[in-house]
């Protein structure tokens, strides 16, 4: 989605990676905003997925390319601060989406409240379990800020249920779904009697779902995950997953670009824009709002 006509302004939108439904939705939102405002989107993530230094390079290269503004989902709240400050010094406004950034060089932060998302998951799981039971959390990756916030929010929230014990919270799913799957299998082996599970992102949730299904414990253990994909939506329908914390990536992309355009037009923008989180459950998943978040319809040019 990178059609160039020299007269149009270009806004660089830099996700954390490119191969994920979540980022596809952000891309779609960004494209919608761009189409409404007559600007172009330069969509470019780090070539090596989840590599901080690679993302810094993309920001730097966008600056030398002289884009009008940058919308960035920083892989690291500290590491990306320097290149963003340099961009700001070069009069290129930066709007941060998805994960927060240190410093005040960026114009605005448009994102989900991750800690709140984690707390919502804890609330849902605690309620489902009636306030007691053995619960496991499979972490995502070492050093990933947004999922760490969700994990923190979840642990804080679950602590409010004195009857619930955390049996394990020190295992990591790793970067790929297969790694998550194998880790989950081994964890389930280790804890034959579990009541609840939380996973803080899509790939960990998916790996856990596969592991639960493969040992026939799907549906029997209360399971709350994070983010959406077609498979997870289906599992929600069949009752294998009991809750999915949903962000609104389309809105994030849309508002990210819109906010950047506002800054360019000299308008005053809010420092923090919350794009909201919602809890999808088997019961509410057919309501229009949740259904749209679960199965976002992406325009053809994103695919």
């Amino acid at each position: 989605g990178d059609s160039k006509s020299p007269s149009k302004r270009v806004i660089a939108v830099i996700p954390k990676g490119t191969t994920h439904e979540f980022w596809k939705s952000i891309h779609a939102g960004a494209l919608k905003a761009a189409a409404e405002s007559g600007v172009d989107i330069a969509w470019k993530g780090p070539p090596k997925e989840d590599d901080r230094d690679e993302q810094i390079k993309v920001v730097e290269d966008s600056v030398t390319r002289r884009v009008a503004a940058i919308v960035l989902a920083p892989l690291d709240e500290a590491a990306l601060a320097t290149p963003v400050a340099e961009a700001a010094k070069d009069k290129i406004p930066v709007v941060v989406i998805d994960s927060d950034l240190k410093g005040d060089a960026h114009a605005s932060f448009v994102a989900t409240d991750n800690e709140k998302g984690g707390a919502m998951a804890a609330e849902r799981l605690g309620t489902l379990l009636g306030g007691k039971g053995r619960v496991l959390m499979l972490r995502y990756q070492v050093g990933s800020a947004s999922t760490e916030k969700r994990e923190r929010g979840f642990l804080a929230g679950i602590a409010k249920f004195p009857g619930i014990t955390m049996v394990s919270d020190n295992q990591y799913a790793g970067a790929t779904a297969e790694a998550a799957y194998a880790a989950a299998e081994n964890l389930l082996q280790r804890f034959p009697e579990l009541d609840g599970i939380f996973c803080p992102n899509e790939s960990a949730t998916f790996g856990m779902l596969r592991a639960l299904t493969s040992v026939g414990r799907n549906g029997k253990v209360k399971f709350v995950g994070f983010d959406a994909s077609a498979k997870l939506a289906e599992a929600l329908k069949t009752g294998d997953i009991h809750g999915l914390v949903l962000q609104n990536p389309f809105r994030m992309g849309y508002l990210g670009v819109k906010t950047a355009l506002d800054v360019l037009d000299g308008k005053l923008v809010e420092r923090r824009i919350d794009t909201g989180v919602a809890m999808a459950t088997p019961d509410n998943m057919t309501t229009p709002d949740i259904a749209e978040l679960l199965n976002p319809k992406l325009p053809e040019n994103v695919r």
Binding site: T18, T19, E21, V142, A177, E178, R190
Partner: protein
Amino acid sequence: MSDSNAVRLVRRLGPFLGLALVLVLFTALEPDRFPTAVNFRTVLTQTVIVGLGAVGMTFVVVSGGIDLSVGSSIALSTIVIARLLRDGASPAAAALAGVVAGGVVGVVNGTLITRLRIAPFIVTLGTLQIVRGTAKYLAGEQKIDAPASWLAGLMAKSPDPSWLIVAPGVWALILLAGFLAFVLRRSILGVHTYAIGSNESTAVLCGIKVDRTKVLIYGLSGLMTGLAGLMQFSRLTVGDPTAATGLELNIIAAVVIGGASLSGGVGGIAGSLVGALVMAFLANGCTLVGVPNYAQEILVGAIIVAVVAIDRSKRGT
């Protein structure tokens, strides 16, 4: 080069002793949960992907080569299968296409290596990226959802006809490994594989069609990678362009722990399988015992060095 028969025996047994050690250790630490039928069934299923890759890689390593592109190639296979299923192909046809896609990557590797006369490490360092990029392109840079099919059952820990006991994928690994072990030891392709790895110029002087044999070896290994891709798809039930990133190092580690020499001429299928099992049991045991991930990482690294050190201590390389 001082190979008495006793030393050769130790070399052959080395990996097996390593496996026995891991099994005994975790049985002692977790007597209730580790040595159970269901846990072993789980670990065997987890071994299938690396195992299939390692069986193919054994041919490559024995011939004195290496293949860094297998991780990318597995991802490509899952994408090919998922796309075909999504577009309405029959599961069997999609599975076949996925396996063939792996074979094609292998043949391309072999052809580049022999035609351009570039070291396998470099060629496959290049195709590692080319194939990953192609997978992402074919996937439209996202995971591809595929309609449910019997392919998912290939890696089911409780297999459908329950008399199978273990997943069909495990049987595929066992049968193929057995057959290919025989091929490597006894077939003309196998003898030539050892000859090329042992002394390539001799192989040329003896009239072995070295280039053709190499293309065959990489092609065969590619088919095994494609099969590993099929099993990966069966486990995930989606096509994932970022699947198996870095898995090549695990596969090579399995082959090396299994006693193969990266300078060629030495190695065997049984050893490589045991190498794959050692790593799978280690990861499984560490999680059961609750060892943190960083410790597990350190342990795996130490074991690679230690097993090979013990194995090599009486030899030279």
